[in-house]
Structures are given as structure tokens and as C-alpha cells.
Subunit: 299 residues, 4 copies
């Protein structure tokens, strides 16, 4: 689909995926810059690019150091990658967009912001996947609105739909950095904690390693994050998939895998945490005994 290129030229995402590469996306820009003081929640407009370019640049650098090898989210433009990417709540809109983009003869990636219950009109993830691939999308997946576990449930339903229809596509997932098992169709914006009380839901780096591994096992090869994904979460993806990719990201020079940096701590019970089984099995407490585990969505 993409033209052949000479050595040294930058390859497009589709070429990279077709060559078997694991592509690591970036993470959260708006929500992260809000916490750093440069973006206003509610509006969520990206004027920080103009007003505080250093702060935006700094965050880009952090994601690159963490292992991201595609920069997509903040500018909402992926043209440098010779690919158009959008995300949708309704599968019809997504299908129209794919059909239009196909006329420009570019590879098309479409992610939907849906959960396991499907789009806002109840079209299931499996049906959405089939419609998108039939319309011509090369890369499909989910983006935003749902946490790591929930997003992978959706991806699984998409792959089952494709399989039943005898279709194939590259898969892409960009989950929230927040756990949202209690969401309805509308996703995390309908949770009472959105957007200023989501802290207890933030994923640990180990929960993200689990997410990366499960995504990989489901056949997903474009793995990134969305709102709530900080640089160290992206690094967790890159570390989990280092065996498959053959290298660690730059920021791993500051991170001993599975907590190994603790093995010189003076307290023996903290040294005892410098191992994989410890962090893999940890059930982290919230420190909030007056709060529930789950909330009821507002809609």
C-alpha cells in the first residue's frame, strides 16, 4: 500500500507494522499538562503549544526517552507518518471517514473510543471492526475513554468479530492510565471522579506491564496510552516488550527492572521488594477506608 522507500528514509506506521515491528505510542498530553499547570480542564484546548512551548517540548522528550517511537497525540496530526488517524464514538462516522480517506490512497488507521458494550447505538465491537476493515481501514483499535483491562476486553471482541468474518487488520490500543471497570458505554467521563478525582484509579507501572503483555498476546502491535498515561507508564510498555523488541528505552537507565534498584536499600524489608513476584502480586491499597472500590456512572 505504501510506496517502497530507499534506505534511510523514514518508514510509515503501516510499513513498520507489516514488517513485524512493535510500535509504542505516546501517552497523556492534556491531562498531564493540566497537572503541570499549563492546560485548563473543561476546555482542554492545546494553547500550551504556543504559550509554553518548553513545557510541551519537555513532555515530548519524556515520552521519547520512555520508549515512544511515534508522536501522535497532542497535535492531533499524524501526517508526518503518512497516515491519517482519527477516533470515533459512532461506527457510521468512522466508516465514512475511512471511505473518504481511502480516496487519497493513504493507509488508514481508525480507533474507536468504545468499550465492550459497543458504540453509542449499540453496534458491538466485533461488528465495528468488521465494518471498518470492509470500508478499507488497515489499522483498527480503541483509544481513550476506558482503562487498560476494559480496553483489552474490547480489542478481544474486535478480534473475534474479524476472525468470524475471515478478515484481518493491524491492531492498535491506547487505553487510559486509569482503571475503569465500573464504566458504562460513555466511558470515564461519566464516572463521578472525572476529571478532578481520578487519582486513586491511576495504574501502577506493573499494571501497565501486564497490559502491554496481554495486548501483545492478543496480537496488538501498536501499543500506547491516552489520558493518565505518564512517561513511566510508556516506559513500562517498552520494558515489558524489550525481549520482543530487542532493546530498552533510554529512560530505563534510571529504572531497574522489577524494582531491582531497591536491592541496596538499608532496610531488609525494603530490599525484599526488589523482585518480580513481589510487584506482580502486589494488591495496592488506596489508603482511603471511607471510599468505595467502584462508583456508579452518572449516565
Amino acid at each position: 500500500m505504501a510506496a517502497a522507500r530507499g534506505p534511510g528514509t523514514k518508514r510509515g506506521i503501516l510499513e513498520r507494522l507489516e514488517s513485524g515491528e512493535v510500535v509504542i505510542g505516546d501517552g497523556s498530553f492534556l491531562i498531564t499538562l493540566e497537572k503541570r499547570g499549563y492546560v485548563k480542564a473543561g476546555l482542554w484546548t492545546p494553547e500550551a503549544v504556543v504559550e509554553h512551548p518548553d513545557a510541551v517540548h519537555q513532555l515530548h522528550m519524556e515520552f521519547l526517552r520512555a520508549g515512544s517511537n511515534v508522536m501522535q497525540t497532542f497535535t492531533f496530526s499524524a501526517s508526518e507518518d503518512n497516515m491519517e488517524s482519527k477516533y470515533f464514538e459512532h461506527v457510521e462516522e468512522a466508516v465514512w471517514a475511512v471511505e473518504v480517506l481511502k480516496e487519497f490512497d493513504k493507509p488508514v488507521a481508525v480507533t474507536m473510543c468504545i468499550g465492550p458494550e459497543g458504540d453509542m447505538r449499540g453496534v458491538t465491537p466485533g461488528e465495528c471492526a468488521v465494518k471498518l476493515v470492509k470500508a478499507g481501514a488497515s489499522i483498527i483499535g480503541v483509544n481513550c475513554r476506558f482503562g487498560p483491562g476494559t480496553s483489552l476486553q474490547t480489542i478481544k471482541l474486535m478480534t473475534e468479530g474479524l476472525k468470524a468474518a475471515g478478515l484481518k487488520a493491524h491492531l492498535m490500543v491506547q487505553a487510559l492510565g486509569f482503571h475503569t471497570p465500573d464504566c458504562n458505554k460513555g466511558g470515564f467521563v461519566d464516572l463521578p471522579e472525572y476529571p478532578f478525582g481520578l487519582e486513586p484509579r491511576v495504574a501502577t507501572r506493573w499494571e501497565i506491564q501486564k497490559y502491554a503483555r496481554e495486548a501483545y498476546n492478543l496480537g496488538v502491535r501498536y501499543i500506547g496510552g491516552c489520558c493518565g498515561f505518564e512517561p513511566y507508564h510508556i516506559r513500562a510498555i517498552a520494558e515489558e516488550l524489550a525481549p520482543e523488541r530487542g532493546f530498552l528505552p533510554p529512560a530505563s537507565e534510571k529504572h531497574g527492572s522489577w524494582g531491582s534498584g531497591l536491592n541496596m536499600h538499608t532496610k531488609p524489608w525494603i530490599r525484599a521488594r526488589a523482585r518480580r513476584e513481589y510487584w506482580e502480586n502486589l494488591l495496592p491499597a488506596s489508603g482511603r477506608p471511607f471510599c468505595p472500590s467502584l462508583s456508579r456512572p452518572d449516565a
Copy 2:
């Protein structure tokens, strides 16, 4: 205690506190830079100052924008403020340090990293406070190791000790940005989540506003944070105390107070969150029904 200064000279912390100013400290450097990929957990050494000065500078800027009007933590040197500051686990060491520093005729601030149970040998917070003030400290308080609620319990016990002894001092608090009601004497390092699974314990901005107000009501006038305190947490202190201080911090240009930035959202149930009562009363869920609320410390 501090020498008189001419106009235009920078005033020391003690002068500022004695003039009735509310001083806002800064927040977390090492733990925050670890998540951004520049510091290694376990070692916690500050070589980022040399290796990635832009990243450190960027974080300093964020805290300043958030309202911090003293820069202390990362370099562990407060000499620019003409004051020596240290923190201690044992009250004897703290007392010796105060006595030595007093010989140099500088105002002395001492914070202890103790909780309500007192120092490692069981000296109560009230007794610690009395010993420090008798040794000559002008500013006393607590720093690190315990979360917002727990640190204020300790401060309260300190003020009761001082009152009973007929003594006075300026008070300073720099709590963790993590809730730790389940800590023993050793503080958060003994919790099984330390340091890589603390996410569910991160305070919301509203919980920090409550902390700032309660600290103020206890008479504390130097209010800041320690590990886990991000720029938006510092901004929350500055916003809560804006009526007393008379101004908002620069970063509040990107923050509607009490969620007011949501009042133009398209979904009515999200607009309904643009009010103080909503966020003040929110009990945020962890999204983790298989995890407990509290942990048992390892020591």
C-alpha cells in the same frame, strides 16, 4: 533574630513568617522526576541536576507557577534564605543540630520526619517540639514520611506540647502527597506499596485544599509538600489560601476554582460537577475491587 535589611533586599523566611506572611513550600522532586524518567528509585540521587538540567528547571518552574514562594527541597540547601534547615528521625540529633547552628547565629528551622507516635525512640511529638524550641529553633514542624491527615495530627500534638510548656514557635508542614493512615512509626517506606505501587494513595487536589485549610487553622504558616506532591497540589494550597494571601498563583489562569471550568461542558451531568459541594464531598473510588483499603506495614 535576623538582621534588619534595607528596601529591596530579599527577606529571609523567618522575617516573612514574623510579618504574618503565609509561605507556600514546593513539592516532590525525586519521586516526580523518577516518573518523568530522570531519577533512579532506590538510589534517589540527584544527578539529574547535572545530567538533565532542563528537566529539573522545568519542574522548578512548574512549582513556582503553582504558587511556591520558596525553593528548598531538591538541592537540600536553603542558604540563599539565610537559614539552615534539616530534618530528623531522632530528636536528640535534631537538638544537637539546633545547638550547633545557633552558634552561627542564624535562625534555625527544624522539621522532623515523625508521625503521631513520635520519634524512633518513642519521644512524643509534644516532647520533641518542646526540646527543639528549648534548644533554640525558631521554626519547627514535620516533613515527609506521612500523608496529609497524619502529618496534621502530629502538628496538633506538637502545638499541644508547646502550649502546655508555655512555648511558641513558627510551624511548618510538608506532608506526603499520599494518604498513609495505615503507617507505623517508620512512615510510608514501610508500607508494601513503597515506592512503586503508591498510585492509589495519591491525594486529589480537593484533599490538598482541605489539608491547607486545616494546617492554616492549626496555626501553620509554612505549608508545602514532599514526595508525591505535584505542581497541581501546590496550586491547590495557593488557591485554598488565596483569601488570606490576597492573590492567586500564575497557574490558576489554567484552573477554574472548584471545577468551574466544567460549566460549559456539553453533557449536563458533567456541568453539574462545576461546584464546590460536589468535589468537597466526593469519595473517589479506586476502580480496584480486588484491592484492600489499607495495608499492613512491613515493619
Copy 3:
């Protein structure tokens, strides 16, 4: 189906349901007698009938006082009601049983011990319902293995299956007195708390009133309980449906509806609990901050 009877004769369950009566089942015998010291867990054999007939009789009396107007569970024989009743894990077995029983020309009630995921071979609740009614069952439903909320989800799926197939049946539900949202297909026996650590899951009387109302609204007219249902839970069904049935059970002489018995308490904050809104909205705490909300089933 049942033969006509003269005045004064005891009517069978089917007649009562066809006349529009709401029948209230009984509750837990084996698990309740285990806690009273007369039945051994694991074996769960009913030798208490012979060894301690007074204890069994006492429990029967308690359920009758609580409003139960059919006695079924403990002896596993409903012949007095001129009806055969069984419960099943596999829909084929249930269908065979119905076919055999129909030859004896008796009305047949069949409850399956399945949850929303269907029987052990994956036949959905809707399909099970259709198969049972087509085989000749007059009364169908679910019994045991799943808690109140989960059992009603299953009933709802059964009614949808019947509706889609244009069929009708009387409905019966006998849920556990334990909350089990975390069950898999196998039900509560696969939860790690079974059978000796189920206490935190026990339903309150208010949660059972909600169950009774929702069951009624789904069209269920035979409403009872299974393991974990104590006499006061049965009374809660009878009290919730007193407006429809026109009378209260005898044991309500010892129960003010919605906590009204508290309105003479000496402490005003306890008097303030003597009202419906209070108990309807209470989210009861477990007093166990080191325990999770949900467990992972063992199978």
C-alpha cells in the same frame, strides 16, 4: 392442570400462582442449622431432622412467623403441595426430568442453579427457559448458588428468552442471602470464602426488600431464599410486598417497618435513623479495611 377442589381443601402452588397470589418461599436450612450447631458443613446431610427435631421445628416456625407460606427446602419434598420440584445445573437433565414428571400429570416446577452466564455447557438463561417451558414446566426459575442481584439478572434473561419465543411461565426465585457479584458460572461454592468466611457478604434486610421489589417488578410471584436466608430476610420479603398481598406476617409485630422502632431511642442521632430514606441509601461498611471488596473465584 390441577384438579378442581372443594372449599376448604388446600390449594396447590400452581393454583395459587394462577389466582394471582404472591407466594413467599422459605430460607436457609442447612447453612443456618450449621451455625446453630446441628449440621456439619461439607457433608450437609439433614440428620438433624432425627437427631434434633426441636431445633428443626423451631427454624420452621421462625420461617412461618416471618411470612413464608410454603415449606419446601429442608426435606426436599414438596409432595404435600401436589407438585414436584427439583433444581439442576444442566438444562438437558432438567428437560428430561420435566418430561418424566409430566407423564404423572402433575404440575412441574423446575429451578436451575445457574447465573447470567448460563448452564455448565454454556446454554444461556433465555435458552434454558425456552427448553423447560417447551418440555412442559409450568413454573421455572433459579435457586441457590448466586446472590440476590445476580439471580435477578438471570431471571431477567429468562424472561427475555421466553418473550422472544412467545412463551409464558410462572417465575420463581430463591437467591442466596449472600452478595456474589464476583462469581463465575459455578456460583458461590467457587468463591474462596465458601463456606466458612461468607459473613461479610450477608445481605441486610433492606437489600432483601430491594430484591423482593425488583423480583416482583420482573413478574416473579414465587419469591424466597436459599442458603444464607435467615427468618428476618424472609420477613423483609413479606414486608416489602405487604401492600400487594394485603397483610403483614406475624413476626412483623416485632419489627417496625423501615426502622421505625428506633424513634424512641434516647440518642437523637439514632432516632434520626427511623426512616426509609436512611436505610434505603445506607452503604454499609465491612469494618475490614484490610480486606478487598471482591474475590477471584477458584474455578
Copy 4:
């Protein structure tokens, strides 16, 4: 103190304790009979003795079978044991009562319904213990209002007070069968769940075995329960202390110790629960992810 008795006469509690016997109290009457339909919450009057003597007798039998070797609670009269017993919220009242009773030359047992914070005027448990023993009480302890763990904290403070004063007494504990770590001074009646939403707080039999062992290790030799203690909870005390007492209670014929009755279950994962380590380490879930772990008391 008690007069000498001939062979065959019934020994009083004090004699039994002085001879080294471990006495097991009974459990909950009013709250248990409320759930069985015979007592009205709020009033909590014992007219069931007259109205439904069989039901009261049945519960007495259950406690006896479970191992209780003293019957005290329901009639509020212990005269048969040649001992007067009362419980108090204020230590002054308790002291007066002891002084009056001493004039009748009877051994006196006094339990206070206080928690670790002490009596309603702030007299600490240690001070209460000293005052009661100095006034002449032979047996002191705590009764009702607080859960197992909290009651033992109080007992520990009492023993420390006695030790510091060089005094001795027999100890008695009758905790609630509900976990109440979130109580203030007023005890469980101030929790929002009192009295109709306490179910998630009910102790398991294993939690009561732990309570019995810890009470024994603190030197308590009269161990029983109060509201919420069902017969199987009393049996758990008797089973835990069977090695010390030399015998099991009658109801243990229906209870394999540490779940051993499960070792013939058909499902291997349920057989795997037939062992001590399993139940000792179980952290039972509430099945209620929308509920908190702790509540804030109303007073």
C-alpha cells in the same frame, strides 16, 4: 472470698477462675432473637421469655451445646452463680456499685462497656481498672459496644494499668460479634449501620478463634461474647481453647476443626480449603464494591 462448699455443690465463677478454669460465656440474645423474629429492635425488651419461651430455650440450648459453661446474659441476673455482675459506661457508677455489693460480702464482677479511649468522661481503661479493683472487684473486664479487636485493646490497657499499680484481678471479655475499628467512645451504636445494617461486619468463626487465643494470651480466663455472637462463634472459642481446657463442646460433633469437613468434597479446589492455613489467612470480601470499608460514627 466465697464460702467453702461440700462435694457436689455448684461452684461459683470466682472459685472456678481461681482454680485456673477457663470459663466460656454465652453470646447474643436480643440481637439474635430479633433476627429470629421474637424481639423488637429499639425497645430491646425481653418479653420473649414469656411470649415465646421455646425460642429462648432453644437459643440457650444452642449456646450450651456450643460450649458456654455459664448462662448470664439474657436475664441480666447472675445470682445463681452467687455473684453480682453489671456493666457501666462511667467508672464512678461502677465504683459505687462495687462498694455497695461488697457490703453483701459477695464476690463482685464488673465489666465496663468502654473502648480504648476510656469512659464517657475520659478516664482511661488503665485508671478504670485500678479504681474498680481498689473498690473491691474480683473480676473486671469489658462487655458489649466494641468488636473483638477493639475490646482486646481495651483489656490490654487495663492490664497495663493494673500492673503499673501493682494490682491483680481476674479478667473477663465479652466483645461484640461485629468488627468496629471505626468506633468512637460511644461504641457501635453510633455507627451508621447500627442496628439494621451491621451484617458486613459480622465476624467469621476464624476471626473469633483469633480473638479467643489473643484473649487467653492476655491472661483473660472468662471469655464470651455479646451482641452479634451466634452459637457457632461461642463454639469457635471452645474449639480454640480445647487444648487448654482438655475437651471439645458437644456442637463440635458437627464441626470439623479448621474446615476439615471439606476434605471429601467432590471439587478439588474446595477440598483444598480443608486446612488451617487457608482459613487463618483468608481475607474475606464483602461482595459490595460500592460500599466503603469504614464508616464515620454519627457521634
